[in-house]
Amino acid sequence: MISFRNTLLFIGLMSLIYACKKEGNPGLYKPRFVVEGWIEQDDFPYVIVTHNLPFFTAVDSAQLAEVIIRYAKVTVSDGTETEVLTATTDKRYFPYFVYRGTSLKGKVGGKYSLKVEYAGNTLTSETEIPNPVNLDSIWFTEKQVNNRQLNVQIVDAANEKNYYRLYTKLEKEVIFTPTLLANQDDLFFNGKKLVMQVNRGMANNLTTKHDPYFNIGDTVLVKLSAIPASGYAFWNSLQDEILNGSNPLISSSKALKTNIKGPGVGVWCGYSSKIYRVIAK
C-alpha cells in the first residue's frame, strides 16, 4: 500500500515537473526514470525500469522496492517484429524485476528500438548489435603463491570500428562482473594486438571488498562483448564516475552519457558476446 502511495506521489511529481517546459532552479531534485536495457545476440531483450531518489533519502528495503516501475509498457522492435515485454521477477538482476521478451531475439547487425511508456511519459532509445569480436588468447600469470592474474589478448580488426567490454565471473557465480577497466575503444590500438592484464572488478560501488586476482584452481568464465559507440560512451562515463568521482586530482565529468531520450537516464545497448571457460593455473 505504501509503495502504491509513493508511486502515485512520484507520478504526480513527474507530471508536475514535465508539465512546465522551462525548468526552474537546476539545483532541485527532479524525478527521472532510470532505464537499463540490453539485448544480446540469440537472446531476448531485458529492460529494468526504476526511478531516481532524492539524495539523502534513507535507503531501506521498502525504498528499494518502491523505486521499481512495475506497470510500464516496454516495447522493443527490430523494424519488422515488435514485442511488448513481459514484467517478471528475476533474482539475477537487481532490483529483481525485469521486463523480458519471449519471442524477439537479438541478431548480429540488427537494429533495435526501445520504447518505455508509463503514466503519460515516453522514453525511447535505439541500439544495434555489432559484429562479434574474439579473444585471441587467455592466460594467467602468477601473483603471490595462490593468486593468479588473468591476461587476455585481442587482435583488433583494422577495417572496423570496435568497442569492447570485458567481464569475468567464477563458474559458480550468477552474473558477470565487468573488469576494473572494462571498456576499450580501438581508437588507440586500431588494427593492433592489445594485451590486457586484467583486474577483477568490484561487484558494485557499495563495497570496498575487492580481490583483483583469482585463486589457483578457480574455474573462470571470461566474457567479451562488442558494443556500439553509445553503449561504450555510457559505460565509460559510469566507470569514470565510480572510479574518479572521489579523486580530487582527476575528478569525474559528473554526467552519465545516457542514450535514453525523454525524462530519464540510462542505457539501451546491444551486445555481441562470446564466453570463454578457463581454469586459473
Binding site: 560501488n205 583483483p212 574518479n244 580530487p248 586530482l249 582527476i250 575528478s251
Partner: protein, 780 residues
C-alpha cells in the same frame, strides 16, 4: 573609452614643458660601493615635500626657485642633511653612509615614511623583510603566501596552489621571476611557492591598473626580482628545518662582478608524510601522500661600465608528488618542473634616459600518471616560451615616459595522453601542439599635473598569431593542414589603462584606476583543487582570448606620526571568453582535441577591500578584509543560469600580528577566515547495474565549510659571534587543528540485497596541526 585615452595620452605628451618650475634630479647612492639606493626618501623640510628614489636610485622633483633643506634617509644608513639653492634645473648625486649598528638590526625593511606615496602606487611592494612578518608554513616564509594576506587576494583553500585576485581565476595572474614567466608558481599544493625567499629581492604586486609594460593577464601581475646589486662581501647562510635544508651564497668575484646562488631541497618523505599518513588512513577515505621538491636559483650581476649593467638569472625547480588511493589500489603520481632563464642589460643612456633589454626563456613540464596494477595511464604537458623586450624609460619635466617593444614565442604541448601495460602501448596519434607568437608595443606616461593631481595613462597594442603546424577541422568536417610557421588565425587588440591620483590633503588621497586587459593564453581547470594537472593552451579560433575590464576607486589615508595607514578600495570587473573544461582528466586521454571539451563563458565580480596597518612600535601588523561577489555564466553549464565562481569569497579576513617581545625575541601570528569554496553537490541518486550513482545538482550550488586557521611563530635571534649569527624559530601551523576539507565526495555503502544502504559524505582534509623548528646560521 579607447579614443579618449589616446587623446589623453597625446595631451600628456604635449604638456611636457607646461609647468613653471625648476627641477632637481639625480641619484642617491651608497658611499664606497656607489650602489644606487632604491626607495631612499628625500624630505624637503620647509615645504613638507617628499620623494622616493626609483630602483636605479634616481629621483626628480619639481620645485619653485629658492633654497631648500633636504633630509635624505634610508633604513640602515646615516641620515644626510643638505642645503640646496635652486635657480635653474640641477643634478646632484648624494651618497649615504651605511650605519653599521643599524644594518645589523634592520635588514632591508619597507619604506618608513611616505607610505601614502607608496600605497598610492598601483602595486604593493614587498621586500624580503615583509615576508618574515607572518608565520611561515613550517617555518618557511613565502612570497605568494604573503600576497595572500592582502585584501582582494584569496587563496583557494587548503592544498590549493592558486592565487585568486578579485574574483579572477588562478590562470589570470602573470607571475614573473626575473622577467621570465613562471607558469606554475607553486610547489606542493600551494603550501610553498617556487620562490625561495632568499632569491627574492623585491616583489611588485598589481591587482588593478596594470601598467602597459605588462601584458597578457586579466587579474594581476606578480613581478618578482632577485637582488640585482653586485654583492660587496661574502655571504653564506644555511637553514635546516624538519622538512627542508637550504643554503644561500653570495660571492663577490671582483668589485664589479658577483654571483649568487640559493638552493632548497625538502626531505618530507622521511619526516612529515609518514606522520601525516599515519593519522589519516582509513579504508574509505584513506590516501597515502608522498611529496618532495627542490629548487635552484643562480644569478650573476656585472657592471660592464658605469652605465651598463648586466644581470643574468637562472631558475629550475621540480616536484614529485604521489597520492595513493587505498580504496581502489590506485597510485597517482605527478611530477612537474619549472625552468626560467633571463639576461638583462640595463643602460643609463643619460640621466634622463634608461634602456632595459631582456631576453628570456620559460619552460614548464608536467607529467601525470595513474597506475593500477600493470596498467599505466597518464598525461604529459609542456610549455616552452622565448621572449624578448626592450623598455625605454625617459624623464621629461613632470613626465615619466615608458615605451617599449616585446615579442613572445610560445610552444604548447598541453595534453599528450599515454597508456600502456606490460605488452601494449596505446596509440594516441600525434600530440596536440600549438605554436603562437605575440608582438607588442607599449607606451605610457606618468604625469604629475600638480602636487595634488597625477595621472598615469598607458596603452599596449598586441598582435597575436596562432601558427602552424596545425590541422583545423572546418565546419563541414574537412581538415585543413597548416604548414610550419603559416598563420592559422591572428588578431590585433589594444589594452588601455588609466590611473588618476588626487591628494585631498597631505595624508589623504583618492585613486581611480581603469584597465582593459586581454589574455591570449588560457588555464584549463581540470582538477577539483587547482592541482598542476590544470594545463595551459593558447588562444585559437575556437577559444578566443579572454578579455576583461576593471574599475576601482579607493581612498587612502595615513596617520604618519602614530604609525597607522589604511585604505578602502572598491572594484568592479567583467570578463568574457573565460573557460571551463567539461569532464575530468580521464576524458582528456580519450579526446584528441581539447577545444571540443572547453566551454566559453563570462564572469563578473565586484567587492570592497579594507586594509588597516600599524607600522610603528613593538606591536605591528595588519588586517585585511574583503567583501565580494564573483560569478560566472556559461551557456553550456548549469542550464545557462549564472552560478557562483568556485572561489567566490563573500567574506575574506586575514590578520597578521608581530610583536617584539625583547631585544632578541619576536612573536608573530596569522589568522585567516574565508567563505568556503563553491562546489557541485549530488541531489539525487539512482541504481544502475547494481551501483548507486550520484546525480549532481546546481553547478557550484553548495559550499564547503568556512575556512579558518591560525598560525603562530616565535623567533629567537642569538647574539652575533664574530662573523656568525644564528636564529632559532618555532612555528605551529593550524594551531587549533582545524580540519579544512579541500574536497567532498559521496559514497554509498551497504548492500542492495539486504536493503541497507547508507550514503556518506566524505571529505579530504590535508593538514592537521603541524609544529616545526628551524635553525638558521648566517656567515658574513
Amino acid at each position: 573609452m579607447l579614443r579618449s585615452l589616446l587623446i589623453l595620452l597625446c595631451l600628456l605628451f604635449s604638456f611636457s614643458s607646461g609647468a613653471q618650475k625648476v627641477f632637481i634630479s639625480g641619484f642617491v647612492k651608497e658611499e664606497g660601493s656607489k650602489r644606487p639606493v632604491s626607495g631612499a626618501l628625500l624630505h624637503f623640510q620647509a615645504i613638507e615635500k617628499e620623494e622616493l628614489t626609483d630602483k636605479n636610485g634616481y629621483f626628480k622633483v619639481a620645485l619653485d626657485k629658492g633654497s631648500y633643506q633636504v633630509l635624505i634617509s634610508y633604513p640602515g644608513y646615516h641620515k644626510l642633511g643638505v642645503t640646496i639653492t635652486l635657480q635653474q634645473d640641477q643634478q646632484h648625486t648624494f651618497y649615504l653612509t651605511p650605519d653599521a649598528a643599524q644594518l645589523k638590526e634592520v635588514s632591508i625593511s619597507g619604506n618608513k615614511a611616505s607610505v601614502l606615496q607608496s600605497n598610492l602606487n598601483n602595486f604593493s611592494l614587498l621586500k624580503q623583510a615583509d615576508l618574515e612578518k607572518a608565520p611561515g608554513f613550517l617555518g618557511v616564509h613565502d612570497v605568494i603566501k604573503t600576497i595572500q594576506t592582502l585584501p582582494g587576494t584569496g587563496n583557494g583553500g587548503e592544498g590549493n596552489a592558486g592565487l585568486f585576485i578579485r574574483g579572477g581565476g588562478s590562470g589570470q595572474n602573470l607571475v614573473l621571476f626575473n622577467h621570465a614567466v613562471i607558469y606554475n608558481p607553486s610547489h606542493l599544493l600551494g603550501f610553498f611557492s617556487v620562490f625561495n625567499s632568499d632569491a627574492v629581492g623585491e616583489v611588485k604586486f598589481y591587482k588593478s591598473g596594470i601598467p602597459a609594460e605588462y601584458g597578457g593577464r586579466l587579474s594581476s601581475v606578480v613581478d618578482i626580482q632577485s637582488d640585482q646589486q653586485i654583492a660587496d662581501s661574502l655571504l653564506i647562510d644555511g637553514e635546516l628545518s624538519v622538512l627542508a635544508a637550504k643554503i644561500n651564497l653570495k660571492i663577490p668575484i671582483t668589485s664589479k662582478w658577483s654571483v649568487a646562488t640559493t638552493m632548497r631541497k625538502t626531505f618530507m618523505n622521511y619526516s612529515a608524510w609518514p606522520i601525516v599518513n599515519k593519522f589519516t588512513v582509513d579504508e574509505d577515505s584513506g590516501n597515502k601522500l608522498n611529496y618532495d621538491f627542490y629548487d635552484l636559483n643562480f644569478s650573476t650581476a656585472l657592471a660592464l661600465t658605469e652605465k651598463d649593467k648586466l644581470f643574468a638569472a637562472f631558475y629550475v625547480g621540480g616536484d614529485d608528488f604521489g597520492l595513493d588511493i587505498i580504496r581502489f589500489d590506485i597510485s597517482n603520481g605527478m611530477k612537474w618542473q619549472n625552468s626560467a632563464a633571463s639576461l638583462k642589460w640595463n643602460r643609463m643612456i643619460s640621466n634622463k634616459l634608461n634602456l632595459e633589454t631582456v631576453a628570456g626563456y620559460s619552460g614548464y613540464r608536467f607529467n601525470f600518471g595513474m597506475q593500477q596494477e600493470g596498467l599505466e595511464v597518464g598525461v604529459h604537458s609542456a610549455i616552452t616560451d622565448f621572449n624578448y623586450s626592450s623598455t625605454l624609460k625617459a624623464y621629461f619635466g613632470a613626465h615619466q615616459l615608458k615605451a617599449g617593444l616585446s615579442r613572445v614565442q610560445h610552444k604548447f604541448v598541453p595534453n599528450t595522453p599515454f597508456s600502456k601495460n606490460q605488452y601494449t602501448d596505446f596509440d594516441y596519434g600525434k600530440p596536440n601542439t600549438y605554436m603562437a607568437d605575440e608582438m607588442a608595443a607599449f607606451l605610457s606616461d606618468d604625469f604629475k599635473f600638480s602636487d595634488r593631481l597625477s595621472v598615469y595613462a598607458g596603452l599596449r597594442m598586441t598582435w597575436y598569431r596562432h601558427k602552424g603546424p596545425y590541422s583545423a577541422t572546418g565546419p563541414n568536417g574537412a581538415l585543413t593542414d597548416y604548414a610550419k610557421g603559416k598563420t592559422v588565425s591572428e588578431m590585433f587588440f589594444m589594452e588601455p589603462g588609466l590611473t588618476v591620483k588626487y591628494h585631498l590633503n597631505r595624508s589623504t588621497a583618492l585613486k581611480f584606476a581603469y584597465s582593459r586587459n586581454v589574455q591570449t593564453i588560457h588555464l584549463i581547470p581540470i582538477s577539483a583543487s587547482n592541482f598542476p594537472s590544470d594545463f595551459w593552451i593558447p588562444s585559437i579560433s575556437e577559444i578566443p582570448p579572454e578579455k576583461g575590464n576593471q574599475y576601482s576607486l579607493g581612498i587612502f589615508k595615513e596617520w604618519a606620526d602614530a604609525g597607522y595607514e589604511g585604505y578602502v578600495d572598491v572594484y568592479l570587473r567583467d570578463m568574457k571568453n573565460i573557460v571551463e573544461f567539461s569532464g575530468g582528466l580521464m576524458n582528456l586521454s580519450n579526446s584528441v582535441k581539447i577545444e571540443d571539451h572547453v566551454s566559453l563563458g563570462k564572469g563578473s565580480s565586484y567587492g570592497s577591500e579594507f586594509h588597516f596597518k600599524k607600522t610603528k612600535g613593538k606591536f605591528t601588523g595588519h588586517i585585511s578584509y574583503t567583501i565580494s561577489k564573483s560569478d560566472r555564466t556559461f551557456e553550456e553549464l548549469n542550464e545557462g543560469y549564472t552560478f557562483p565562481f568556485k572561489y567566490d569569497r563573500t567574506h575574506d579576513l586575514t590578520a597578521v600580528a608581530n610583536y617584539k617581545l625583547q631585544v632578541n625575541w619576536s612573536l608573530s601570528a596569522l589568522f585567516t577566515l574565508a567563505t568556503g569554496n563553491a562546489y557541485t553537490k549530488p541531489i539525487s541518486r539512482y541504481l544502475i547495474a547494481g551501483n548507486v550513482i550520484n546525480e549532481y545538482g546546481a553547478y557550484n550550488g553548495a559550499r564547503m565549510p568556512t575556512y579558518h586557521r591560525m598560525d603562530l611563530s616565535a623567533t629567537h635571534k642569538f647574539p652575533v659571534k664574530g662573523k656568525y649569527q644564528s636564529f632559532l624559530s618555532f612555528s605551529i601551523y593550524n594551531v587549533y587543528n582545524r580540519s579544512n576539507p579541500i574536497f567532498n565526495y559521496y559514497i554509498a555503502r551497504g548492500s542492495l540485497n539486504t536493503g541497507k544502504v547508507s550514503v556518506q559524505e566524505k571529505s579530504i582534509a590535508l593538514l592537521p596541526i603541524l609544529p616545526s623548528i628551524n635553525y638558521k646560521i648566517v656567515f658574513k
